[in-house]
């Protein structure tokens, strides 16, 4: 029979129904004969149940309508978001499925687009506050790398999450920290 120490490691997974069918049978066989492990399972179940039922208040002094109204007010100062260059390029390439069997051609086309769009945008960064100069630079850098372009799917792996702005204590509209570099945003 499976030992207590092994069962203990499985109990939480068992409780959350994340063990295999075989694992479940082994745990159940053990529980049927081991009051101590059965007690441990009961304890875990109570703990988890208490956690799940912890109350959360509503946002203070207002309804959810007021909450979303607050969000609306705050984003009113933010320029409307536009698809990033990388995203538009991926969408565009998707529409050109026939290029897929010819990676070199696809890569060349992609590079052309990157350069064309990149150059077209460069002279006017201030007029388009939503355009992220760093994102453009990054995409250009990646675009130059034909190794990357050979596998178009890799384009989708540009890790946008890392370049997400994070809040600084100063509040919004000031200097935000980007994943890779410091930069001032126009808001």
């Amino acid at each position: 029979m499976i030992r207590c120490i092994e069962v203990r490691d499985l109990l939480l997974d068992y409780l959350e129904e994340e063990v295999s069918a075989l694992g479940r049978r082994r745990v159940e066989a053990h529980l049927a004969e081991c009051p101590s492990c059965a007690q441990e399972l009961a304890s875990l179940r109570v703990t988890r149940g208490l956690l799940e039922s912890l109350p959360v208040p509503e946002p203070p002094g207002e309804s959810w309508d007021a909450f979303s109204e607050g969000v609306r007010r705050r984003i009113a100062a933010v320029p409307p978001p536009r698809p990033s260059l990388g995203l538009r390029m991926v969408e565009w390439l998707r529409g050109m499925e026939f290029l897929r069997p010819v990676p070199a051609l696809g890569a060349a086309a992609a590079l052309g687009v990157i350069l064309a769009v990149g150059l077209a945008r460069m002279p006017q960064p201030l007029e388009r506050p939503s355009a992220d100069p760093i994102a453009v630079g990054d995409t250009l850098g990646i675009g130059m790398n034909l190794e990357v372009l050979r596998d178009l799917d890799l384009l989708e792996d540009i890790d946008v999450l890392d370049s997400l702005p994070t809040l600084t204590p100063g509040g919004e509209g000031q200097v935000v920290r980007l994943g890779r570099a410091e930069s001032t945003r126009y808001t």
Partner: protein, 180 residues
């Protein structure tokens, strides 16, 4: 859920910014639950939850359509919470443990549900931030270990281990003063 998140995002990016309202309506409650669980302060939680939507809106143009919007949004909110805690530098000290000790003296049977919840809240607040974040995403938001890993930017094994540690710690703390 009639319209997919991704369709709404596409509409926002196409200039129909009002479509973002629908995303806010869809996720405001779960995001507030998350920020409240992380801060234990309704006012801060509201502010952070609203800011999460603002940042999501701001960065919507670079959101990967392959990703899940909810995971991305949770990640933004969680980062805000963790930064907020660092900035506020009022990491929970020994105070919650004090409260637990006091309650331990009481007769277990008479613990009101509210008191018990309070003790549990305090025990959660005393967890290291990563464990607290993992626990919240798992229990309150119902994310898979994999989604938690994506949200917090860690390995799936780490997310799972953090969750196990958190549950065990809470279980131990509760055990010492009531029949859990």
């Amino acid at each position: 859920m009639s319209v997919a998140d991704h369709d709404l995002i596409r509409r926002v990016l196409a200039g129909e910014v009002e479509a973002f309202d629908l995303l806010v309506g869809r996720y405001q409650a779960p995001i507030f639950r998350l920020t409240y669980r992380m801060t234990r302060n309704a006012e801060d939680a509201k502010d952070l939850a609203q800011e999460a939507f603002v940042q999501a809106y701001r960065g919507l143009g670079s959101f990967r359509q392959e990703a899940r919007f909810s995971t991305w949004l949770y990640r933004i909110a969680m980062n805000l919470c963790l930064n907020h805690q660092k900035a506020a530098a009022r990491e929970v000290s020994g105070e919650p443990d004090e409260r637990l000790r006091d309650e331990r003296k009481d007769s277990l049977a008479v613990l009101e549900a509210a008191e018990r919840d309070q003790a549990l809240e305090a025990a959660i607040a005393a967890l290291p931030p990563q464990q607290r974040a993992t626990l919240t995403l798992r229990v309150q938001q119902g994310l898979s270990h994999r989604e938690i890993a994506e949200t917090l930017g860690c390995a799936e094994g780490t997310a799972k281990a953090n969750y196990f540690h958190a549950i065990r710690t809470l279980q131990r703390k509760l055990q010492s003063f009531r029949q859990v």
